[in-house]
Symmetry: C4
């Protein structure tokens, strides 16, 4: 359930998104030209601010961001919109998200592929879950949907759409990475850090459980 | 055994705490809006300087810190005090701590959950133990208490209180993270770095012991 | 298939290469004085700009770079050309590369040694593969050639030469590291980040596959 | 075999040592107040510049360094010399070292303890070995001596002394960390980065060898 959005100016949004991408690259979550990042400029009609396709995300200046409409057409700025814009738009529409951050981290790539046969990755009993909107206790379990990867983005978006409203502000694409979102950019950044933390933690849990049984009282 | 505290000014304390939080976030120990951090402004009556609840700790300006009293009520500044303030206060009162740093690291989350059935995590025979106040040789063993996580902070604090005086300047909450403290901010930072180092080391020891027996002479 | 190169000035190339090396060191991919890095100044006759041999790559100023010819002789600047210049030249000639980045990362050193008996390392089914020039779907497999290490660089280069045109913009030398290249510096940087990501991912996949079977549906 | 030392000024040495410590802390190799770092100011009589005992190494200003003589007495500056000065002095005297860098890294702590029963850690067949003074091929093996930890530093130094001339510019103390040295500060930094790389690599090799046999041709 998203709250009403605050209304930062276009240049505040652009500066915020540019800084968020640089920080996400610093952490190793969008190497190469991987990942994509957007935020909502306005809703009626829908306008997204996002990085152009195929650029390195470590140093995209605010003025290099492009503006796209609700069909993914570029209205302003230089460069193309990524094919993945379709999934950004689905998340904005289905979840009322104000920002969508799509990363290619080590843990996200690894566990999305590992959990794909099951169709979801379950995370439970950790305090960090409380960083996700609407969760107020560690004593819970969330299931991040995991979809098979597909280069047909309209098809992938159509498969994702019905899963989005129940998703814990995150969705995994197998062998590909994580989409995280929130009602505004800072909320999306919080959800991204929380979900990336939980993915890395799950990988460590799997190794530890296999190798070292917990000591008893 | 804590030494008499030096008396930095309020703005020195605020700048120090702000810088400490930024560094702790840089290391990945308080992702999302996880963790909380406080230091003692004065003792009679007790006043704590701390980050407001629910903010991202990477860039909290000194003037954004709040001041709370010995019951956790906010006396100055904008925002709410975290429910975890109760545990900060218990540590300040029981241990005479001048600063309390509460992190959500990978190793702290993982090993607190792993060791919870035993009620403590034992660390031994490492030179880095000497970074903890009062320890003068590696040839020793310390036990960090591990409590079950609970969203009822007054209850959790009451369970923690009797364990605090013997704790090695650190306490683990299962699946949640580490509380580290010291008689002032720099001492608490030292204890935090030492305990986080030792937790990460313990995780590596568990993997190595399971997979590769030490070579013999 | 390389595109026509843009034509930055000499000082733009030198600044770009200097900044690329500092970033590569920050990531821990060229510790000590390991690794070497070059880009093409012009093609007829061939001139390379590169770091002199034996210097630490974290802070090489643009004016400290040397210029070498197609036989690896230093034409300008102070210091010697690394013996590995022979392999840089082979890559430039065989692949039409505009920049060659040679790293000594943890995963590159580890997996090059591990995969050497097989003569290649196969990477497959990951979205990040699309960061490599010419790859348009995750549903593919690439084989990075792995050569035995040899201090005789002319011999090593002669062994590498026939493998280069089919190599996925990368080559591993066993127990030594990775060569990545591209038609210009930013393309080589993209390929380096992609290949280093995929190597680190492969190491994690090997651990996870051995320890934790994927959950079934 | 060490070359004749260059002669930087005192303030150049102090600035270099201060910057080296900040970088070593950034990499997580001297958490808490762990580690110690020195360089030779002059030889006759012997004078060392070093960090005072018990300070955090992330931000020691050049003017905060102390000067000690060949018996470890402080001649200039505020603070005490670490008890470990005895081992720094032994290394300077036995190896002609111009700088000694002593770290407490994860891999150094772990593998020193693991290899202690054998009395050494063997590293072999890696290109990165060539970063150690005097090594010209990867096809070699070096043995880093590993001594049991002891709080009696004169005793530890006496045990170390006969091992130092054959040591590969590095010595491990079990469960404690690494001493690395070189004929001047930049050479010591190179050896430190090389040895820390090789220790981390050895830990990864041990996990991989236990879990994933190499593929055959």
């Amino acid at each position: 359930m998203m709250e009403a959005m605050a209304a930062p100016t276009r240049s505040e949004l652009a500066e915020g998104l540019s800084a968020a991408m640089a920080e996400i690259h610093r952490r190793g979550w969008c190497d190469g030209t991987g990942g994509n990042f957007s935020c909502v400029l306005k809703r009626n009609p829908l306008r997204l601010l996002m990085a152009p396709s195929g650029v390195h995300k470590s140093a995209v200046a605010p003025e290099e961001l492009i503006e796209v409409d609700g069909q993914g057409a570029v209205l302003r700025g230089e460069g193309k919109a990524s094919a993945e814009t379709a999934l950004h738009l689905a998340i904005v529409e289905r979840c009322g998200a104000g920002a969508v951050l799509h990363t290619h981290s080590q843990a996200g790539t690894l566990l999305s592929q590992w959990a794909q046969p099951q169709g979801h990755l379950e995370l439970r009993d950790l305090e960090m879950l409380k960083g996700l909107e609407g969760i107020t206790t560690h004593a819970c379990s969330v299931r991040i949907p995991v979809l098979a990867n597909d280069q047909n983005l309209p098809k992938l978006s159509a498969l994702a759409a019905p899963l989005l409203p129940q998703a814990p502000q995150g969705l995994l694409i197998a062998g590909h990475g994580l989409y995280a979102w929130g009602n505004n950019l800072s909320s999306a950044q919080r959800h991204l850090e929380i979900l990336e933390f939980l993915l890395e933690q799950h990988w460590r849990q799997l190794l530890l459980q296999a190798l070292a049984p917990a000591p008893s009282a």
